[in-house]
Symmetry: C2
């Protein structure tokens, strides 16, 4: 498998965004500081990088505790055949970052990913003269400002982005809500089930019959297996039918989990195990 990095022994991982992004921070939290990151423009490219053997892992955000699921990535989990091997919850702290030497009073326009802009509503309510501009990436916004010497612009991004591009933090912790966490998933080509894995993710579709969702959840409840998340997404070409993504606490090696999944297979039209991995602490 070809690995991009110059660094020997570095684990290679594809992420969406630029150096210093929250995804890179999550990758370091999961894989250590010595990683060879491949920076991709889209989530689709992140999935392709591992599927095509260019990197060992892909890392994706799947859910933010304020903004909700990253639905596109749920859809890609079904379209590609990667498996979840780890998860991490990252505390998201947004900072206002400008050119070195610039004063806050000079700033007229704030650049960032739309979700980051939305998470700083109170900041924009306080400083009403600031114009908001959408960008494809938080750390990419810092890069743009620094490289082009944009003295009237600031970006909303992570401390890591400020450090990487030598930007200046003009204001810290400007997010509306401090309980701002993003859950990231580390993906690989193969299912890996370690003994300490205690969380499993599955995706299934149901026969279109009354009570089928209830029956599908009963396979867990009847065996005292806790669900941590349920997400539904449309099945293209089959209006008002859904794929259900369910996370539950349990290891594939446990008898009650095996029984639950056998039982679930009786009820579902389609069923796939997406991964079995150690549950991350809820607050990172």
């Amino acid at each position: 498998m070809p690995v991009e990095s110059e660094t020997q022994n570095a684990v290679s991982v594809a992420i969406q965004g630029e150096p210093g992004s929250y995804s890179e921070e999550a990758a370091q939290a999961l894989l250590g500081a010595v990683i060879a990151c491949r920076y991709c423009r889209t989530f689709e490219e992140v999935f392709q990088a591992t599927e095509q053997g260019q990197v060992q892992h892909s890392l994706i955000p799947i859910e933010n505790s304020l903004a909700g699921s990253i639905y596109k990535n749920y859809d890609l989990l079904t379209r590609y055949r990667l498996r979840i091997v780890r998860e991490a919850n990252l505390l998201i702290q947004h900072h206002l970052i400008g050119m070195p030497g610039v004063k806050f009073e000079q700033i007229t326009t704030v650049l960032s990913h739309p979700v980051a802009l939305d998470q700083c509503e109170k900041f924009f309510a306080r400083f009403r003269h600031l114009e908001r501009k959408s960008a494809y990436d938080t750390s990419g916004s810092v890069k743009e400002i620094i490289e082009n010497g944009m003295t009237e612009y600031a970006a909303i991004a992570s401390r890591g982005a400020a450090e990487y591009y030598h930007g200046q933090i003009l204001m810290s912790g400007i997010q509306d809500n401090d309980e701002n966490f993003t859950r990231f998933l580390l993906l690989s080509t193969q299912l890996e089930v370690s003994d300490c894995a205690n969380k499993t993710s599955v995706v299934f579709s149901l026969a279109n019959a009354p009570g089928s969702l209830f029956k599908s959840l009963s396979v867990f409840a009847l065996r005292d297996i806790d669900l941590t998340k349920i997400e539904s997404r449309p099945i293209p070409g089959r209006p008002w039918e859904y794929l259900f993504y369910v996370d539950f606490l349990g290891n594939l090696g446990e008898v009650r989990v095996k029984n639950a999944l056998n039982h679930l297979a009786e009820i579902t039209e389609f069923l796939e195990v997406l991964g079995c991995y150690p549950a991350a602490p809820p607050r990172g």
Copy 2:
């Protein structure tokens, strides 16, 4: 209640987008051709228009059978105190629309709402030279092209938008998948339960206890009440806790529905009925 329109007896309704949008088509399907539309830039303004008594109704898209839920509108259903009084499923047919007299060969750039652009992937794969540009609205894109005489641009929008702005349809039915439906909800300040209402929408949060989602769905299954949709959204400030939006078939006047909701109230922390209305035919 002040109504904007000049037309007497016209029902007033707020929608997001410009004249000729899919929302306007849905409003006409539900309320007849004689409506006084208030065209809003954001969904938030659509909710506010009815809540502040400026119009009688708000109309919002809630779900597309290919792209999924319009999550922002689920969140606004909880933030505002409007109630669902009707629903409609609209077949979405996308057309490529340009200036009158323009030939397809002249077009270099295609403008539309990002969801509409995404729903025409096969079209863009066939005509690789065409550049895509995001806009806030489908019919607003037609307006922009016609008003500014942009001969190298075309928009993706409805037939209604082409007619309203006197644009020319260059290519018809360019969506990837013909099974493309959007479900719209008509909102009002008051709950209205007619005898022919057979669908109910509720929103609830659960005590954070094992099996609580299963128990909440059991109140319907135990009474043979069919669920048609379940959606979950994060509760801001309470990481990894969710609001559940559930649609089921039943009228609030039925004894089994009353019992189910009383039972549900035993399990939930928070429970609200969002509306009780006639179910629309699945394919419009």
